[in-house]
Amino acid sequence: MTVANISVSETPLVLYTLRRADDALILGHRLSEWCGHAPMLEEDMALANMGLDLLGQARELYSYAAKVEGRDNDEDKFAYLRDVRQYRNLLLLEQPNGDFARTMVRQFFYATFADLYWRAMMRSSDLTLAAIAAKSEKESAYHVRHSSEWIVRLGDGTEESHRRTQSAIDELWAFTGEMFAVDDSERGLIDARIAVDPAALHPQWLKTVSSVVSEATLALPKSDWMQQGGRSGRHSEHLGHLLSELQSMQRTFPGATW
């Protein structure tokens, strides 16, 4: 038996909110995969803590998307009953955990962006998004510090940790451009000051990332070719596997509750 996917009326504001909710849910799920597997107990707790922050942000964003959409969708239906092509998260965030260095590089690229993004969104003319931003920016400040410290420790660590961290940077770099891309549906929200223009955050992001990477004796790739697609539902093969696990309970036992 299969459970039908929900349909979503993707007005610009619903789509915008879902994209951010999906970012938080997918990265939060990836971090939760470390639970019980991290290299040390403190990191196990740190990754689970950050995953929980992201899950909390996702829930608030999904609930708001449901309210704006005004149909009978809710946070659970958005999370459990949409298929890969309906997910709108950044490709960066669905990339597999790999080794610890790779998880930290992914976290560092995103958290540095999210921190700037949520701080700017506190001035959104949409009061709910501004309120969610005010909570999220406090959490992202910790995420940035945590991952920055690890980038330095790993990059400026042993030959092996340096090699692994550099290779993670090289592999994930092409996914960073999508964070700063804007499509037509978001342009109107930016003009209405509901959304911030992410391109305006890029210089500061690059400055922070460059300074930490250089302190870590690592280097950013020269290439500026960037892969996109997540925002419009064109994902890497990894998201399907992630969702099959995340959604397995609701797909097997529709409507199951605790």
Partner: protein, 167 residues
Amino acid sequence: MVTAVLSDTDLRRRAWEVAAQVVDPEIPVLTIADLGVLRDVRVRDGRVEVAITPTYSGCPAMNMIALEIELALERAGIGRPTIRTVLSPAWTTDWMSEDGRNKLRAYGIAPPQASSSRRALFGEQQVSCPQCGSGNTELLSEFGSTSCKALWRCKACREPFDYFKCH
């Protein structure tokens, strides 16, 4: 059975007093009033509405706190309230009462320090050990047993301890 008819003002005050006694399930020495999680109590058409605010977005204690408020008000004969979650203004440790800070310290958790800078990328903080009071302490992990706590160790008495993070 005696039914006391309370005015809205009295009802509101009573409901606040009862709700204010509800404790945080993770840190049972602190009430939700100490924490600043309890934001407002109102009476609308004879029904009590309690507003709470989450500490962290994903804090799993929020569901439990909402349930505990409902139970406490029912037990006090006030009836089942409506629980409203407010996000703005965002919760901050600045709202923690002085009494709450003292209770935390006595419980073995270092209270949040108002002056520490959350924004410093590689910032140094000074946290005193809640056991022996020494300032000779070190950070083990910024992420502790719950979202709101970091794990520290005292280099004087060698005891590990929780620090309630600034937020």
